[in-house]
Subunit: 329 residues, 2 copies
DNA sequence: CTGAAAGCGCTAACAC
DNA sequence: GTGTTAGCGCTTTCAG
């Protein structure tokens, strides 16, 4: 494998000159530049990032922490991150933590080991203490999930407001018995969405009934099925359900269908995230859309800014209620 | 940031000794080892991968090329790759090519630049000429999609046989008018699955009718909807449909429902891949299951073997027809 | 058992 | 405009 020395020798110049050509530094005469370029071609030379990165003490790799790659919610965000990264000559290292602290540690070490220049964390279950420690020394951005009052910059949406609007939509449709399928309330977004749910109910003098509030451990379809099963066993069944993720809502829909009830006639249903499947269900799912691509690109831009040493501010992006068949009575 | 020199000075030893401790080389007296370890702790030292990798001329990064992260088919494969990689002290760089040659080039350069030690390609649209060139110099494995008669080792399933079995299942159910929703036949798997489809029809003396064969550009839901719409416009409608991916089948199901027909009574339906959503549709989808996790871990093991300089052989894994509601008349 | 020193491939002063 | 050289952080001979 050819290296910079071989090129220098072949071109009859010094390594410094080769480096100058490689980095497009202007102070090289057209004649020498030509010589170098032809030597590069002759030897089929490709500069080694390893050497360059060591010298520049940077890896040009961004770490992206997600709990699970199989949650479609993340795919568009990742697209946004990746495109922005590539446009800035970075690459991303996608890291599935499975919300497993050991896995997480491996990745945290990568940044300590200089194998990554910064981190975008989307894991709601991330160890915040460690993340905060890391943030003292390395550039870190939180995306979607964040720590209230924390010092790590984040990009997210107003979860409380989004939930409030979704539930208000159900109320306006005439629903008075509205259930909530929430994820684990150790997560900030879960607490925020519950707050929005409760605010809407209170505003219209509807009671908050614990038996209509289900919490799930995870966001898989199966969790939605289980939660809905529980709700349907209540003596007084809800007439509408707000689920904090489309995957949960799709599971709920499956269970509603299985018990011979109809959406939206018997039970109206709203999900969250606007994943692509949510338009394939029968009926199609009303859902809250987050600007996922933009969230990703914003997070990446913030991180790259932070790596450059800029001060970056947290950002709240807009959301939108997408009304489809599951709430069209 | 502390480096190996600082640790050496603090411990009162040479950098060589620190390196020995770091790499668990036995020829270090317990006493010095202790000194070094305490110095490492004191200084909060983390070895730099950049330096280590340059010295060892390896990056311990594996490149994984996929056409699109949003296709759920890949998620389990990636899990398999990732777990195997981590177990062997590698990390993976997940690269979405969008089947875009420019994007692909960026990633191909990464391996030339020594930023990755090897490649697992899952992109059916990959530029085979370039991949073959690259394979002369670097370790490369193909996963799922491959080149017939090529020299790059691969792991896959028997697509022809899988399609044959799926269609035979439809025939055994009494169907005589069986349509095929295939992807672009520039892809090997598409040609293989078509062959299997035709073999089953021929074996039972059923005609192969071009108007019952649809080809789509991509594997999105929307493509399945379009294809099914075309099939339903035929003067003689098929009584069963075999789609070469679950996403296509789910789109087809959506369209069948929209035209007031029932699956499986009016039209039986089979997909391919057993993505998690295929169990959430109504009715649930009969599909061909591939051992995705195993495919991923096998590919990773093959690649790591190849990096070590081993000779690796291509592998064909088993598949399974998963019969669910969409073919239960 | 330990240390000195070379060198992986590159960039950036500094000198001319 | 171009060359010389130090050094990024690490591993690994080779001596002792």
């Amino acid at each position: 494998m050819a290296n910079i020395q071989h090129v220098a020798k072949q071109a009859g110049v010094s390594v410094a000159t080769v480096s100058r050509v490689l980095n497009n530094i202007t102070t090289v005469s057209p004649k020498t530049r030509l010589k170098v370029e032809s030597a590069i071609k002759d030897l089929n030379y490709e500069p080694s990032m390893l050497g360059r990165n060591l010298r520049n003490s940077e890896s040009r790799l961004l770490l992206v922490l997600i709990p699970s790659i199989s949650n479609p919610f993340y795919t568009e965000i990742i697209n946004g991150i990746e495109n922005t990264a590539i446009a800035n000559n970075y690459n991303i290292l996608l890291c599935e933590t499975d919300s497993n602290p050991q896995r997480e540690n491996i990745y945290f070490n990568m940044i300590k080991n200089k194998l990554a220049d910064g981190v975008i964390s989307m894991d709601p279950a991330v160890n915040m203490q460690k993340l905060n420690e890391l943030a003292e020394q390395y550039p870190i951005i939180q995306c979607s999930e964040y720590e209230e009052g924390g010092s790590i910059p984040y990009v997210t949406i107003d979860n409380e407001l989004a939930a409030y609007r979704a539930v208000k939509h159900l109320i306006k449709l005439g629903n008075k018995r509205i259930a909530l399928i929430n994820s684990d309330e150790k997560f900030l977004y879960a607490r925020q969405r519950r707050n929005g749910y409760e605010r809407a109910l209170k505003e219209f003098d509807l009671p908050i009934r614990e038996e209509w509030i289900c919490n799930t451990n995870q966001l898989d379809f199966e969790n939605g099925i289980q939660a809905m099963r529980k709700l349907l066993q209540q003596p007084e069944k809800p007439s509408a359900v707000f689920a904090v993720s489309d995957t949960l809502a799709i599971g709920a829909l499956k269970e509603i269908n299985a018990s011979q009830l109809k959406v939206p006639d018997d039970i109206a249903l709203i999900g969250f995230d606007k994943i692509s499947f949510s338009n394939m269900t029968n009926p199609t799912l009303t859902t809250v859309s987050q600007p996922m691509y933009k969230m990703g690109s914003t997070a990446a831009n913030m991180l790259i800014g932070s790596i450059k040493g800029n001060k970056v501010e947290s950002i709240i992006l807009d959301h939108e209620l997408v009304i489809r068949e599951s709430t069209m009575g």
